[in-house]
């Protein structure tokens, strides 16, 4: 009897605590598949990039330098011209991902932050606001 009580307490506690955590995990899972479809061809599944052609995302200064809002706009609009990642220069271009909507962005950025950044969730509301405010 005691043990049943204990188990149900644990279950209750776990489910309460993880309400937000479950959503975070869902975003990470969805975000991973969006990443695989739209980003991994160039940046690779593990974010290591391709030599000097396509910059890495993993273990880079991007996560300190570029805000999530900026990141959303770069993904949405693409990028041209020279950029620097970890001090190395890249001059290719990144195509615009015009089909990605706010929910996709929230999931994608959450996955990337979870893998390489500060591991915080990037919410749908934040993503929607970011998309509205892109230059």
């Amino acid at each position: 009897m005691k043990s049943i009580l204990f188990i149900s307490l644990v279950v209750l506690f776990a489910s309460c605590q993880s309400k937000e955590e479950i959503m975070h995990q869902q975003y990470v899972v969805e975000g991973r598949s969006i990443y695989e479809k739209n980003c991994a061809n160039c940046h690779q599944s593990d974010g290591s990039g391709l030599r000097d052609l396509y910059p890495a995302l993993a273990k880079t200064d991007l996560w300190k330098r570029v805000s999530s809002q900026q990141l959303v706009c770069i993904i949405k609009q693409g990028q041209k011209g020279e950029i620097k990642v970890n001090g190395k220069s890249y001059s290719g271009y990144m195509p615009a991902n015009t089909k990605l909507e706010a929910i996709d962005m929230a999931e994608l950025v959450t996955f990337m932050k979870d893998s390489w950044g500060d591991k915080k969730i990037y919410t749908f509301d934040e993503a929607r606001a970011a998309l509205k405010n892109c230059p």
Binding site: N41, Q44, L50, R51, D52, L53, Y54, S91
Partner: protein
């Protein structure tokens, strides 16, 4: 129970047969074949890549003569391609690295956007990929000639298409060509497992006399 001599010899024959099948693994000749009579004997003429001439990333002409006695892998791409090309290049890099010390192996990557992919653009691309001619030639030249070679000879699609991301539609195929310019295999260059298969087939070709 004891096996009778006949049963035993049948068993032996079967296992020999299986063993010989496995040993004689060889690659098919792909593409249209032609036959003609030579001195009363039927001779098969296999599909062969016709002569070609393109500029590579070092602004050097590369022709079929440079491929004499070489096994090569051909593909079609363009440097500004946002879709499957990076994946194909990741896979080709595996082949390039694996055979970096083998002078019998070449890679020919043909640009299907030659107007933009000039030798200097290809040079920058190859440099950033850290690969060099003649082991890996990035080729550009007459657009019609490249498209025709792709479709008629390598049997893959390569076309302009305004609706496609990047403006071109092309297959992600790798074409394996032997030392006599016969096509011996076509593989999906975007799939790691398919490229493993290609590497196995290169090994078979290397054994061919």
């Amino acid at each position: 129970m004891q096996l009778k001599p006949i049963a035993l010899s049948i068993l032996l024959a079967i296992s020999l047969f299986i063993a010989s099948c496995q040993e004689k693994k060889s690659l098919p000749f792909l593409g249209p074949k032609d036959t003609h009579l030579v001195g009363g004997k039927v001779d098969t003429i296999y599909h062969q890549i016709p002569p070609f001439r393109f500029l590579n990333q070092d602004s050097t002409w590369v022709s079929e003569k440079d491929m004499a006695g070489k096994i090569y892998i051909a593909d079609f791409f363009f440097t500004s391609c946002p879709t499957i090309c990076p994946k194909m290049k990741t896979q080709l890099l595996r082949i390039y690295e694996r055979y970096s010390a083998n002078d019998q192996i070449r890679i020919l990557s043909h640009s299907i956007d030659p107007a933009f992919d000039t030798p200097s653009v290809l040079k920058e691309y190859a440099d950033r990929l850290q690969v060099k001619a003649p082991r890996w030639n990035m080729l550009t030249g007459d657009k019609a000639a490249i498209y025709k070679l792709g479709e008629k000879s390598y049997m893959v699609t390569a076309q302009e298409d305004k609706n496609e991301a990047g403006g071109f539609v092309h297959s992600g195929a790798f074409i394996l060509v032997d030392k006599n310019r016969h096509v011996r295999g076509i593989y999906d260059g975007t799939q790691e497992t398919e490229v493993n298969h290609l590497i196995e087939d290169i090994e078979i070709l290397l054994q061919e006399k």
